[in-house]
């Protein structure tokens, strides 16, 4: 007996979109107590299908065909009032970004109580009591205190727990989770996944889990649906889909996941040192008034390492570990408090004004977000030539070089006349890479350069980086939270926690035989490990 049935669903997009239907021919069942994962890359329509179940489609987007049967009634035929009773009570939902999904000005307890209030249940006193029970159930530390906290006082993982508590408040029979762990660190992600799994068992609740991460799928799913461009290309049990996938698209996605061991490693310790960082420290002080002590965060605490010419060091750690601060302090987007950054005999950390400008061109950065890292009002040609012109290259030469750079990163030279919004995320990231290369740097700092990209695009960009590094003899600092990516591209790996370097060594050693307990906990939290071993066995056959 299935709880939810979706039959031949099609959702139309407004005119002018890149395809007529967001999703088409969607057919699946959900059994009670089952975890169904919907996987696909961005734009595949995976979130749209789930939103349709909740009756929460964006304006201008509407279902045109098929039905969604929940408990014997077709949800699509229901009025807004009827849907409101279903939402929350029968079907709960949690979102990707717990900060924007919670009201910043309401205490946690009040937000959970509001769920009961909206459905006219319980008295105010009972609501508070239930809220506390729920917070306990989602294992929020110190629930008595947390119930009076505001969302900004909680960490990302704690906020996601609050979201789950709200979704569970009315004991729904289906929980829809839309990328609930994407914004979280690996260790937090592992905890949240475990929580969802536990709750499912305890309550016999069915879960629709939307994700792009096959590791997560492998860990949590009973059944998997793979979507591409609005169509279901494959569905079946988790083992069938991941280990014995039939559709070429699924196979492509599975192959694109970087394994935790991969990539050629070199030992560069014989090569000359190109960047020598010694005792780099940065302390952030926030708040503090007449009556309160300021909050002091040691974002960088005595960080020292050498980067050899031609080498790639991966800087890994969870958010707040200081890895991004480190990259930004090296190029002086942030002023370090103390320490030296020696590059070709010059201390970057002490330079000022014109000297700083002159030396900074040797160390360039690739940014995380391909959408905010390119000026939306500048043509690509200008983006790529501005830096050179600032250093005195004549405009004509700079533009010629811009065209060269574009072909170097695998884009057509005609792109110089186009604006950034005309490109896809992966293409934009290529433009970002070309910009970093425009000044012929020796060192590239890649700050989460592939984190915002889909796996298949990720693989292409990583290949491009490896190729460029080889051809241009670049040295690279690769900042990432993703250990798989680090394993693929880095020669050495530096693990950071609370602003300190806890471990640095050859990538193989750090990943296979970690010395520090923190490194070990990071590695344990990486999703999909059992699956990888299973995959190895299948491939090995």
């Amino acid at each position: 007996m299935s709880l939810l049935q979706i039959k031949d669903l099609a959702i139309a997009l407004p005119k002018g979109a890149d395809r007529p239907h967001a999703v088409e021919q969607i057919d699946f069942d959900l059994a009670p107590g089952e975890i169904l994962c919907i996987v696909g890359e961005s734009g595949s329509g995976k979130s749209m299908s789930a939103n349709a179940v909740m009756g929460l489609l964006p304006e201008g987007v509407r279902p045109v065909k098929g039905e969604i049967v929940f408990d014997g009634t077709d949800i699509l035929g229901q009025t807004e009032d009827q849907m409101r009773a279903v939402r929350g009570r029968d079907i709960g939902m949690i979102f990707q970004e717990p900060l924007s999904a919670l009201n910043p000005l309401m205490r946690v307890g009040a937000q959970i109580a509001e769920v009961f209030e909206a459905h006219g249940l319980l008295s105010p006193g009972e609501r508070q009591k239930r809220a506390l029970e729920l917070l306990r159930e989602v294992q929020l530390p110190d629930p008595e205190k947390a119930i009076r906290a505001y969302p900004f006082q909680l960490s990302g993982g704690q906020r996601q727990r609050v979201m789950i508590a709200m979704a569970l408040a009315l004991e729904p029979r289906i929980l829809i989770a839309d990328e609930p762990t994407t914004a979280l660190d690996v260790t937090t992600q592992a905890q949240i996944l475990k929580l969802i799994e536990d709750l499912r068992q305890k309550r016999g609740m069915a879960v629709i889990f939307i994700t792009h991460d096959f590791g997560v799928v492998a860990d949590i799913a009973d059944r998997v649906i793979v979507m591409e461009k609005g169509l279901i290309v494959e569905q079946g049990s988790v083992d069938d889909v991941l280990l014995r996938s039939k559709h070429p698209y699924t196979q492509k996605l599975v192959r694109a996941i970087p394994g935790i061991v991969a990539g050629e490693k070199h030992d560069f310790s014989e090569a000359p040192v190109i960047l020598k960082v010694d005792g780099l420290t940065k302390v952030f002080t926030t708040g503090g008034g007449f009556f309160s002590k300021p909050r002091v965060v040691r974002a960088l605490d005595d960080v020292s390492f050498d980067l050899y010419t031609g080498e790639t060091i991966g800087i890994v750690g969870e958010s707040g570990s200081g890895k991004s601060t480190c990259g930004r302090a090296l190029v002086r987007l942030l002023e370090p408090d103390s320490g030296t950054v020696e590059m070709a005999g010059v201390d970057m950390a002490k330079l000022r004004g014109a000297d700083l400008r002159a030396n900074r061109r040797k160390i360039q950065m690739i940014f995380q977000d391909p959408f905010s890292s390119l000026n939306p009002r500048a043509r690509v040609g200008r983006i790529l030539s501005e830096g050179q012109i600032a250093y005195g290259t004549p405009r004509r030469e700079a533009l010629a070089r811009a065209r060269e750079l574009l072909s170097l990163v695998g884009l057509d030279a005609s792109a110089v006349d186009r604006f950034p919004h005309e490109f896809s995320g992966g293409q934009r990231q290529r433009i970002g890479i070309a910009r970093a290369l425009a000044l012929d740097p020796d060192i590239i700092i890649a700050d989460e350069a592939v984190s915002a990209l889909d796996v298949s695009i990720q693989a292409q960009v990583l290949d491009l980086l490896a190729d460029l590094k080889e051809r241009l003899n670049l040295s690279m600092l690769f900042i990432t939270h993703d250990l798989r990516v680090a394993a693929q591209v880095c020669d050495r790996i530096m693990v950071m926690q609370h602003g300190k370097v806890v471990e640095i060594g050859p990538a193989d050693r750090v990943l296979m035989a970690p010395e520090h307990p923190y490194t070990r906990s990071l590695l344990d939290a990486v999703p999909g490990k059992e699956y990888e071993e299973a995959l190895k066995k299948v491939v090995g056959q």
């Binding site: 201008g60 940014f367 995380q368 890292s373 000026n375 830096g387 600032a390 250093y391 910009r435 425009a438």
Partner: protein
């Protein structure tokens, strides 16, 4: 930009506003060519109501001047005061806001305290005081209006720049060796433009109102016919010859309404958040 124009054209109010404004501009530019006579000249008996006598379709005022001619010449003054004082206010406000937002720290503190100094004084009172000190000529009226209306611009630009300067493309520009001036002019300000344009369109309307109020109080340029002066001169005969205040009042109302409609239309067309909703 073409998209923005399409969205603007879909907004009926904004298009009506644009048509009214174009008409006013046309009158201001071409009117004095067709009616070159001085608006101060007495042409007929005083207090002629509209449509009573041929040749003076909108009647005459207390000293027998032609109301229509006054209206036409006044359009030029009102529009010019509105536009020029807004441009001057932008010239003061945009650099102050941009510097404060971009550099932060003590630069921000100093510039913002300076801005607040102007904001804490009621702008109309300040305008009266300034005009009492200056001579009441068109030049000083424009200057005065600019001086009392730049602080909101500085505030707005500072806020925009503050959020734009943390964007990654600005950081990339810093790394690529561009100077601060280049970064402000080429990376930051172009992206802050849409809200500035919207604010400017509304400021033109406020400036016209301010000039009218000042002229009404007799602080206008005595050699220039403006709508505000016409209302001011007619206020003593409001009960016997109401049309003398009513007609220029309608002119001000329509122009300001048109500018507000345009401002709102621009806001909808240029504001990306609203845009996304409609797509």
């Amino acid at each position: 930009m073409i998209k923005a124009w399409k969205r603007f054209a879909q907004n009926h109010g904004a298009v009506i506003g644009l048509i009214i404004l174009l008409l006013v501009v046309l009158v201001a530019v071409l009117g004095p060519m067709f009616f070159p006579q001085s608006p101060w000249r007495m042409v007929n008996r005083p207090f002629l109501p509209p449509f009573a006598v041929d040749g003076v379709p909108l009647g005459t005022d207390a000293v027998g001047r032609d109301v229509l001619i006054g209206l036409i010449h006044g359009a030029r003054v009102s529009l010019m005061v509105g536009l020029v004082s807004t441009v001057v206010a932008l010239l003061i406000g945009v650099p102050i806001g941009a510097l404060a937002g971009f550099f932060g720290g003590w630069v921000d503190d100093a510039l913002m305290r300076f801005t607040e100094f102007f904001q804490t004084i009621p702008s109309f009172a300040l305008a009266i005081v300034l005009l009492a000190i200056f001579q009441p000529s068109l030049f000083y009226i424009i200057l005065t209006i600019a001086i009392v209306s730049w602080p909101p611009v500085a505030r707005l630009v500072r806020g925009e720049v503050l959020s734009l300067r943390t964007r990654e493309y600005v950081e990339a520009a810093i790394l690529s060796g561009q100077t601060n001036l280049q970064i402000i002019l080429r990376q930051v300000l172009p992206n802050a433009l849409p809200p500035i344009i919207v604010l400017a369109s509304l400021m033109v309307a406020t400036a016209i109102l301010l000039e009218s109020s000042l002229s009404f109080l007799g602080l206008g340029d005595p050699n220039v016919m403006s709508w505000g002066y016409m209302i001011g001169a007619a206020r003593t005969v409001l009960r016997t010859a109401w049309w003398l205040s009513f007609i220029p009042g309608i002119a001000i109302l329509l122009t300001v309404l048109a500018l507000n409609l345009i401002g709102e239309g621009l806001n909808d067309a240029l504001n990306p958040r609203l845009t996304r909703r409609s797509e």
